[in-house]
């Protein structure tokens, strides 16, 4: 009964809303399913106006976790997928949801922690050793715990360190189950170590007394890929406009635009489309 009432309400709601929709006349836009890290760092705010200037195409970014972005794109709710979890991206393509995948850029993961540094890891460039020290000291560590690209990368690091962090969940290992920003807010609030992407950290406004404690480990490489959603699976996908966006991202013009984006004088993303790594 509740369900039927709900459906009736929703149905009626949609009928009215459709009837009154002020139609968005300009159809020259694409929807990009992407991650919070690209949005929170401000990259899109810098990049997309440049793209629109050159092509007249408006890019509408839906910024969610990598896992959700991939699910949304698989539902056909987007023309382009722009995320950072290579294994999931490759599965997305092999499942037929995406046309092909291309590397765009990378940034790197870092570990930030309180200046008091209870686990004595500051200045390290060895993530495995640092995580082991944190586990030994039972120093608080805030994890995304949300199946996002960053979370998956973090789990790979714990595995490499041979620590079963999940066993201490609720003790010193704290899973926030939320986005990068929320996890940073939580982590800085409780004086915990946090693994984050550098871009989000640099642009983050609530650093409290936290600083970067671990950086520069090649394992912490964070690759971004871009995929055109397959129009064979979802015929309404705007393949032409989407491909235009992808082509521009991979072009010299696009790559230069990525490289030139700086916050506080620091470059956040490093274009690598032409390294032939994919």
């Amino acid at each position: 009964m509740i369900r039927r009432t709900f459906l009736a309400l929703t149905g009626a709601a949609i009928c009215f809303a459709v009837a009154c929709q002020s139609a968005i006349a300009d159809d020259k836009f694409i929807i990009v399913q992407s991650t919070t890290s690209t949005q929170n760092s401000g990259l899109f705010d810098d990049l997309l106006p440049k793209f629109k200037d050159r092509t007249g195409i408006e890019v509408r970014v839906v910024a969610v976790g990598t896992g959700q972005a991939i699910r949304n794109a698989a539902n056909g709710d987007g023309d382009v997928l722009f995320v950072h979890s290579k294994p999931s991206e490759e599965k997305f393509v092999s499942d037929g949801f995406g046309v092909s995948r291309a590397d765009v850029m990378y940034n790197d993961f870092i570990i930030v922690g309180p200046t008091s540094d209870p686990a004595r890891v500051a200045g390290s460039s060895d993530v495995v050793e640092a995580l082991q020290k944190i586990a030994e000291a039972k120093a608080p560590f805030a994890s995304r715990g949300d199946d996002s690209g960053t979370h998956k990368a973090e789990l790979r690091m714990w595995k490499a360190a041979g620590v079963d962090a999940a066993a201490s969940s609720g003790d010193w290992y704290r899973e926030t189950g939320s986005g990068m920003g929320a996890t940073l807010n939580t982590g800085t609030g409780m004086g915990a170590y946090i693994m984050t992407d550098r871009a989000t950290w640099i642009a983050f406004g609530n650093k409290a007394d936290h600083t970067i404690v671990v950086e520069g480990d090649p394992k912490m490489f964070n690759q971004y890929g871009v995929i055109l959603v397959n129009s064979k699976e979802h015929p309404h996908v705007k393949s032409d406009l989407g491909q235009t966006f992808i082509d521009w991202l991979l072009s010299k013009d696009g790559q230069d635009a990525i490289a030139s984006y700086k916050v506080d004088g620091q470059q956040l993303f490093f274009p690598n489309a032409n390294d032939g790594s994919s």
């Binding site: 009432t5 009215f16 809303a17 009154c20 509408r60 970014v61 839906v62 539902n75 990068m180 609530n206």
Partner: protein, 235 residues
Amino acid sequence: MDSFWSVFGGAFGLVFALDPDLMEIIGLSMRVTLTAVFFACLIGLPLGAAVGAFRFPGHTLLAVSLNALMGLPPVVVGLLVYLLLSAAGPLGPLKLLYTPTAMIVAQMVLVTPIVAALTRQLVEDLNREYSEQYASMGVGPIDRLTSLLWDARYSLLTVALAGFGRAVAEVGAVIIVGGNINHVTRVMTTTIALETSKGNLQLALALGVILLLIAFFVNACVMTLRASAARAAYA
């Protein structure tokens, strides 16, 4: 705490700077919420009044359902509307996902049960007072419904306000179906969520203060109207 008070200064600074982006966001917030509340009232008022004024099979179940639906979690509504409007969903061809219309739909679904349930309560009380007079006059069901709604009109303003409050402050549903797309579906609450996730807590709080001021203004207008009606013994 220093930064706590500077937030309010920051909020006023933002308002008086008339930042075009902020104005756009406030405008969209109001457009979405007011439209959603309008249509929620269009459905919820007659529905609630009918449940309040008439007895029919399933009446109690419907009344209880409406009350229960008042507690719908916004995120759940967001997900259900997302699944309906998604390209893979039954209403995908309408291409409403990630548009203000989708946000209006989600807020409507959230607010309609509130409007209907509160209306039912008000109308039921009023009907208790009027029902013998109506029966004596031989008032038909349609006349009875419209008459009850009309006589409860000033009390129903409070109902619409409750719906407005719920809709304007809601973030869980609109961020899922709207996508928080800059210049397209970014409203006050999703901006606050975004700025919070960027760690810009002061800006987020300042936006919250602005939202509160808007809600305060709307409430003050309606309450003034209602107070003058009460003096005329219409409420």
